[in-house]
Amino acid sequence: MKNKEHLKTVLLIGLVITNVFLGSKIFINKKLWPTGYNFFANTENYTFFKFFSKVVDKYQNISISKLHITNPNNIIINTGDQTTRFSLNQSHDKYKTVNDITKNILNEAFIVSPKNITPVSSDEWYLALTGKSVYLSYTTEFSTDLFTQFLGIKNSETGNSISNISNVVISANIPFAVYVQDKNTDTYYKIPLTGTQTNLEETIDYFQTKFDTSDANSSLIINYSFDLKFDQPFGEQTTTLEPMIPLYNSPQTTHIINSENPIFKNDVFNQASINKILKIFAVNPTSITRYTESNGTLVFVENDCVFLKLYTNGILEYTANENSSGLNLIDTAAPISSYNSICGLTDFMDKLNNAVSSEKSMYVSSPLSIENTTLPLIDVSFDYYMNGLPVSIDISTQKNAVNASIENGYLKKYIHVLRSYDNTNTTYETPIYIDVLDQIIEPYLNQMDTVPIDKMYVSYFDNGTHGEKTANWNVKIKQ
């Protein structure tokens, strides 16, 4: 009797499950409704499901690029003593704390009335750097309006006084102030702040007392080029360095990293990654025309136009069809603006990085000044960070990790070098800058009377091959 009832229970459960399965097959498949109309067929278009998938997206796919777009690549703590300045990149454990403090200060500064913002001379800028202050070095210049929007400040009027932001100094000396450099016009501005900046002072003091110049952390210690008067020619020395270039006193020890192409391994494309990529481009993997070229490039064709190519070296190339406006990056409810266009791009980029597990940490490397972000057409580039250091890409014709063209909020062209990086257990010590300088400028000595170095920093170099990559000095000569 007991066994019989047990069997009946099992049978009932099986019948209920089968019933649910058969019912769902009918309700979900639109072809099975006699009238051809299926109330449930497009469930993913319902507001509830859209909201739900947005929530899931938010927690699964954090938009890293947008969050970090206004993070400086270097924060330099100026203690007031020219021999002890500390440089923190994004991998330093104190970076986030200092960055949060400076962000709060900037939020305060960019709501100051434009009437109180005054142009100042470069002397005042350098004076601020010699006192207790924090220097925020950005990867590129931003239009002030864009910068304040990315900080989350609504209706800032700072852009009425300052067009573009290249770098920032936050002075902890009294009276407190934020100094902004606009490299495009070679002007400096002062934004006075009220109240005290206790957090900032404490942070600067922390570094001054905590780190001794003799200990291992002396690798953080830098001098600016202008501290050492390297920004001016002297005697037979014809090489000059931009005044704000940080020069490390000690060799930099960095991890050797492993570089991999996440979509093409062991001579085959990862089909699961390909299908995820196609979904992001709003393409049905089975209905699109696809083929492989003789060199192994995967090509996707829509309406007789090649619109997506995946190269075996990890480069993804999208070109909107001539008759198409491109991929919409902006939510239909949001207005078309350069801010929304770039936000849409960073979301898109992050989706791709998440889909193929490529490196998520990126920074904007092309100018986002007013001149470069005026609608309708905006061209933007991004590059990878690894261990807080930029990764310099040189693969085929690609010199950036991402190059995108956006027209009125629609993505028209997009090239992305998909890469994943991991630390190895091996480290490498970069030579001190002075040892490499002669080697770097030698090819230019015959061609130029003076060799002006615009940028000099440590970065990784990725030429597209699999395997280990080492960080070393990267030097850009001003042409």
Partner: protein, 276 residues
């Protein structure tokens, strides 16, 4: 109510419900693929108004979804492919022609053309006839590593030359661009022309492709720019697969479901039948 009694009632109820749902599923799925006579008649009228005749009996009344298929070109590397035929050759500057005294292979897009100045007598063609030409052609294909286990064959004759056409199939449907024409004469093999694709083992997508109804495709045919303007008649309709732009080379390709439309003047047209 007694729970044991309730269970029995529920079991009976769900058995009936599931039977109804299953029956509905089978009936609706089958019904959904049938084209009604009214639609067929309307389509025939539209075609006739555009100078196209068609016999109602050749229009299939059911539209089936066919499996997604990806294929691999038998030509993956020109040097390796030519090596199946001959080892000593001179390559042209554009690497598209391989030649020696007697043999030539020419590549164009997905296609190749293998020809001999003096026919190859090694394939026992002295007793060549229309009854054994296909068997000889099959042996030739196997000799050169073409997998013809799923292929369809046909033969035509002209001036003592036998033309054996071999068409590969996948999921029991012809691949219209995967066709070889083997030319034989009593002296031996004269040439092999065409292109050949075989199923790609590594494809991960295993799903069915949703197709347009054949009547929709027939209406699309009206807009076909290359079809003749004079009155013509559709003599055959066949569903299969084709590749994309055979004039360019593809190492692998996802096949496009295609209807082949044959006219009474001998011309054929291929229409994409994917339901996007």
């Amino acid at each position: 109510m007694n729970w044991y009694k309730a269970k029995t009632i529920l079991i009976v109820f769900f058995i009936i419900m599931n039977s109804v749902l299953l029956g509905n599923l089978i009936y609706s799925a089958d019904k959904a693929t049938v084209i009604t006579p009214e639609i067929i008649d309307a389509t025939i009228n539209i075609l006739e108004n555009n100078n196209i005749k068609i016999d109602k009996s050749i229009i299939p009344i059911k539209t089936y979804d066919i499996p997604y298929a990806e294929v691999r070109n038998i030509i993956q590397d020109y040097d390796l492919f030519v090596g199946k035929f001959f080892n000593e050759y001179i390559k042209s500057e554009d690497n598209m022609t391989y030649q020696n005294e007697n043999q030539t292979i020419l590549f164009y897009g997905d296609k190749f053309s293998y020809s001999l100045k003096n026919p190859d007598a090694s394939f026992e063609t002295t007793s060549l006839s229309d009854s054994n030409a296909i068997e000889i052609a099959k042996k030739i294909c196997e000799f050169y590593d073409f997998d013809i286990s799923h292929a369809l064959t046909s033969i035509s004759l002209s001036d003592d030359m036998f033309y054996v056409t071999v068409v590969n199939t996948i999921n029991k449907k012809p691949i219209f661009d995967s066709t070889l024409v083997i030319t034989l004469c009593k002296d031996g093999l004269v040439s092999i022309n065409g292109s050949w694709f075989e199923e790609n083992d590594s494809q991960l997508i295993k799903t069915k492709l949703s197709l347009k109804s054949v009547t929709g495709v027939l209406v699309d045919f009206i807009l076909e720019p290359n079809r003749p303007e004079y009155t013509n008649e559709i003599t055959n309709l066949q569903l299969g697969y084709s590749t994309y732009e055979a004039e360019t080379f593809h190492k692998t390709i996802a096949l496009i479901p295609t209807w082949q439309i044959s006219l009474n003047d001998g011309s054929t047209y291929y229409l994409d039948t994917r339901d996007n």
